[in-house]
């Protein structure tokens, strides 16, 4: 359970398993529900285009507890594939992204950071985990850099 007590709905795990096994889904965007009680699937996509995915994160909204809409956070899983330098083919890594923009209001910032552990723990088989707090952090170059490093 997360430190916030926010729970993860089974559909989150189902979507993730589908991505993991089928390799048909390219990414999943999760959000915390509007009543701030559980993490749900906002969208799954078969389109692996990073930039359109990135735009979705940049435009994400959340309501604060008074119902006012503002910049929001999200969680996402993206099947990141990239060419190995030596021409040894491609590699793909299932990457978890906690998107918690620094310019979001206090409330969503708090909620997305304190609930992250719950969703991360529910998803078995993540190859990388990225904490992203501004637009630069989710540039393709930056992601690739972090994902392809080391293991």
């Amino acid at each position: 359970m997360a430190q916030s007590g926010v729970s993860v709905t089974p559909e989150c795990i189902n979507a993730f398993n589908e991505l993991k096994l089928g390799k048909d889904i390219k990414y999943i965007i999760y959000k915390i529900s509007d009543d701030w009680k559980e993490i749900v699937v906002e969208e799954t996509s078969k389109d692996g285009d990073w930039n359109s995915f990135r735009d979705k994160l940049l435009n994400a909204k959340s309501k604060d507890r008074k119902g006012k809409e503002g910049i929001g956070g999200r969680y996402a899983v993206f099947d990141v594939s990239y060419e190995l330098e030596s021409g040894e083919g491609t590699r793909s890594k299932i990457t978890f992204i906690a998107w918690c923009p620094d310019d979001a209001p206090q409330y969503p910032r708090m909620m997305y950071s304190s609930s992250k552990e719950a969703i991360k723990r529910a998803l078995n088989g993540l190859a990388a985990d990225i904490q992203a707090n501004d637009a630069d952090d989710i540039e393709w170059e930056s992601i690739l850099n972090r994902v392809s490093k080391g293991r």
Partner: protein
């Protein structure tokens, strides 16, 4: 957990309907912060110092801003926190915290929860309160309607943690309890599940590595180089100045006439039948020193230390800042204003005398960061270094962040290091309280509270299991 509270009965489909009137308590060495969960700032901010008057009938305790700042006979000023950053005098700490809660939140007795938060006619903890401890024991318990979330330092002992829940349950009658670490709350309040939290308060500086919301206990570092240290350094600047700069607290001054810079004050001073105690005077001096730290002291911004190359000459040529003592003595401070904070970063630069020995090198802030990072797996270090959260009122020292940033870049030239410093003073001072306020107001937080029933079944040891 179900809290009978008709005024906040759940409204279907509306988030706010789930809120319970929980109270969040963030006790520090300098101040104790208390307020209702869900509010943006703590309604009650009280000094953590207390007054003790010994007379024939025993000891009398004084709490709150007005009571402890009025010179009264042989009033001694004390603080319940120990030198190790853990509460030492539990009985009095309990009373101070209780005062912070009851004076502004719940009323002296448990009130109607529907009226909680409405009894705020004043805007400061101005009311003095002589507390007769025996009489309090016979009163209703102050927190019978409110779950309580308390913050604790990352190095708290297991025994101290059990003490918190005992106080909440036994003394205050709280229906539910939770303990969370200040570092974790400050990280969350800044939107970080992982990061390094640098907290510079009054008695301690701490550096806390947090990974996915969990404190990496073995990496937690602490040192006494914090706000009190900077105050003491300022005292030495005054003492070693030629002529010595007189530090005169407000309570001593009856009236003053404006004087030119650097010349002796022309003031009328109060006289006292019983001279105020040293401890009283010291706290009053500390308030003047805090004003001085707020408005005059500047951290040498770097790169490099103040003692490097000709940095000292550069600092002396920088614009000065004026300061006026409560008795009218005033001066423009130039190079001296860079001295009090330099020791936070460079132990060699600390001013010394018999009472203020040279600080340990490993206690400076850069070294604390270094030691904390060493305890983290190599592959996690870049993540932590790109999320360095700055909190605590002493980080408001002018140019503190610039210097820290230079120091960290020098230690770790090959990672992308990033400081996250809340822009507003309120967020910087109260980050942990604000984080606690949001968590404790959540409907989903129900499952985390330790209920009274659970406490009664399992005893105080339950905190160790439930509040990691």
């Amino acid at each position: 957990m179900n809290i009978p509270n008709p005024s906040t009965a759940p409204v279907p489909g509306e988030y706010a309907g789930d809120e319970v009137s929980a109270i969040v308590l963030d006790p520090g060495y300098w101040t104790t912060r208390a307020g209702f969960a869900g509010e943006d700032v703590p309604k009650s901010v009280c000094p953590s110092f207390y007054g003790q008057l010994d007379n024939d009938s025993g000891a009398q305790y004084l709490f709150g801003e007005n009571a402890i700042h009025t010179p009264t006979g042989n009033l001694e000023i004390k603080n319940p926190w120990g030198a190790d950053g853990i509460v030492e005098d539990w009985d009095t700490a309990t009373k101070i915290w209780e005062y912070a809660i009851t004076s502004r939140l719940t009323g002296a007795k448990a009130g109607d929860p529907a009226k909680n938060g409405l009894n705020d006619g004043t805007n400061a903890n101005g009311d003095s309160m002589d507390v007769d401890i025996d009489a309090l024991d016979n009163q209703e318990k102050p927190l019978e309607d409110s779950p309580l979330l308390v913050t604790e330092p990352g190095w708290n002992s297991a025994k101290a943690r059990e003490k918190y829940i005992e106080i909440a349950m036994e003394e205050w009658g709280a229906p539910a309890f939770y303990l969370q670490k200040t570092g974790v709350l400050a990280a969350f309040a800044s939107g970080k599940a992982s990061g390094i939290i640098i907290d510079v308060g009054a008695s301690h500086t701490s550096v806390t590595p947090v990974l996915d919301g969990m404190v990496l206990r073995k990496g937690v570092q602490k040192s006494p180089l914090a706000g009190n240290f900077v105050s003491n350094q300022t005292r030495l600047v005054f003492k070693q100045s030629q002529p010595e700069i007189p530090l005169t607290p407000h309570f001593m001054v009856k009236s003053k006439t404006p004087v030119d810079a650097g010349v002796p004050a022309q003031a009328m001073y109060k006289t006292f039948g019983v001279p105020p105690t040293d401890s009283f005077r010291r706290l009053e001096e500390e308030r003047v020193l805090t004003e001085f730290k707020e408005s005059v002291v500047e951290v040498w911004s770097g790169p490099g230390r103040l003692s490097n190359g000709n940095n000292e000459d550069i600092s002396k040529a920088m614009p000065g800042r004026p300061f006026e003592m409560p008795d009218g003595w005033n001066q423009v401070f130039q190079g001296e204003r860079f001295r009090p904070a330099e020791g936070l970063f460079d132990a060699n630069a600390a001013l010394q005398d018999a009472d203020n020995p040279r600080p340990k090198d490993e206690h400076t802030i850069p070294r604390l960061v270094q030691q904390a990072v060493q305890h983290v797996d190599t592959d996690q270090r870049p993540l932590l270094l790109s999320n360095i959260v700055i909190t605590g009122a002493s980080t408001l020292l002018y140019k503190f962040n610039d210097r820290l940033s230079h120091e960290i870049n020098q230690l770790y030239p090959s990672t992308k290091n990033r400081l996250v410093a809340p822009g507003t003073v309120v967020e910087r001072k109260y980050a942990a309280w604000i984080g606690g306020s949001i968590l404790a107001s959540l409907g989903s937080f129900h499952q985390l509270w330790i209920s009274r029933k659970e406490y009664e079944e399992h005893g105080p040891g339950i905190v160790e299991k439930r509040c990691r």
